[in-house]
Symmetry: C2
Subunit: 214 residues, 2 copies
């Protein structure tokens, strides 16, 4: 993935990375992404399910629907994912921050059809919960037609992260206030069975795997 002035991180550049492995790892760990596009000259940002199959990144839902409706070949988009790892609690208000990992990908969204659409949907499903696709009924041809998927043709990408302790001014170190990091992460709860599920049906292996591999 190339970088240019647009994706070069201007603020705190020591926090930036541009290698594909780092960017993919952040994408893979985020359940949802935020996709931005321009309509009538103004920005719109929508949360979206997405998936990755190797270097191919697929977007589910409304951006793809918009593409289909407009009959446009492609749409400039920006996919951003953010993982919040903790609150950085300094001794001064000014040095408060957040530990996080984020990836920003610029490119074009292009509608996906045919064979590739099934592969894309599988990637999106596997991203949500790995292994589930093989446990459930596959899409019918009618369902496939009803589902819009777009491929994100990436032009530039970057990752940014912060980790570790707050960085306080030396003259604040003597202040009698707790400082450090309050970590946070996504916690998966107890699976809630569907009201129509026969009693005694156990959660499938994909669900236990998802719960224990956050």
């Amino acid at each position: 993935m190339s970088t240019s002035e647009r994706s070069q991180v201007r603020r705190l550049p020591d926090r930036a990375a541009y290698d594909t492995e780092t960017i993919h790892a952040i994408l893979d760990a985020a359940p949802v992404g935020h996709v931005g596009f321009v309509a009538d000259g103004r920005p719109i940002v929508i949360p979206m399910l997405f998936g990755r199959d190797g270097d191919d990144i697929y977007l589910h839902g409304s951006v793809a629907s918009r593409l289909q409706r407009s009959m446009a070949k492609s749409l400039d988009v920006c996919l951003t994912v953010t993982l919040v790892d903790g609150l950085v609690l300094a001794r001064s208000a000014f040095h408060h921050s957040m530990n996080y990992r984020s990836a920003v990908l610029f490119g074009r969204a292009e509608a996906v059809e045919g064979e590739e659409k099934l592969r894309a949907l599988r990637a999106i499903s596997e991203h949500l919960i790995a292994g589930r696709w093989d446990e459930v009924r596959e899409p019918t041809p009618i369902e496939l037609r009803q589902t819009a998927v777009a491929k994100l043709v990436v032009e530039e990408a970057s990752a940014k992260a912060r980790s570790g302790d707050p960085v306080d001014d030396e003259e604040d170190l003597a202040l009698a206030v707790w400082a450090g990091v309050l970590p946070c992460a996504t916690a998966w709860g107890v699976p809630q069975p569907d009201a129509l599920l026969p009693a005694g049906t156990a959660p499938s292996p994909s669900i236990e795997a998802r719960r224990t591999h956050p």
Copy 2:
């Protein structure tokens, strides 16, 4: 807040809401927002800390810096926040979904200066962790000058949410696969003291409150 074609939820409109109370509750529960704007005709989406003081919404960091650099009076932005509440695990791939709450706010970002900047920073801090502002050192005039804050002047806003069980096709109900919801939420961990913190310093009340009120 008014609604127009731009913010009217086109897909699954039964999931939409436009009242300020619903929108504010979603904003208040999200640690980070995603702000989109247009640069050279293309979309950019950046994760951002934000805060709310009554009806006033403030954005921290790079959008505000960009405003200051460009000397522009305002910038069209879209602030989107999303809370993921669970994975909706249906009996077919097609009916998989996510339980979530999201808010999308369209408006203009305007640089904040003077007295309002301190109020804005306090709102952003309180949003991150309520009560912390009064425990730590306030910003100095120099720190205030170094911090960019923008006000989001909201023109339109909407909220969207999904909750509850999967909605499967009747002919799939007999499939021998677990279906239901795998809930998720942000979990706060054990506070990690800064390496320079004197031994025995207890976490301040704001931290315990944040941990126990997710």
